[in-house]
Symmetry: C2
Subunit: 79 residues, 2 copies
Amino acid sequence: MKARVHVMLKSGVLDPQGEAIRHALGSLGFGGVDGVRQGKVIELDLAETDADAARARVGEMCEKLLANTVIESYSVEIA
Amino acid sequence: MKARVHVMLKSGVLDPQGEAIRHALGSLGFGGVDGVRQGKVIELDLAETDADAARARVGEMCEKLLANTVIESYSVEIA
């Protein structure tokens, strides 16, 4: 079973990497970009076969390792 | 209009960051994780209002800046 986790900085948190991308896009002539946020995506290949159990397990992984929940939010998709 | 870009290492390319996460998950007692790949997600806020035009534009951005197409693949979602 595959799981995909998105980890993004929370909306109030400054995102210098996203700002750098926005600036670079402007320099390359890509106008009309009002905002950029960069985050991480983590794809996990799990032995677990039950979707609900996998979701709960991945949620735990996020809380303990994958995301810093003080400044980051995460979402889990199970496929 | 919002666009979300996923940039992942191509499947043949070694992903040390993913391997580090897999190892760390194992150390924390999360068994049953057969593979981990880590990539980037970039959320763009675009002034463009036409979905097809936005998709084409973001594709160009990926080719020129957001992805290194030698080793990375990208996918674009428009929302």
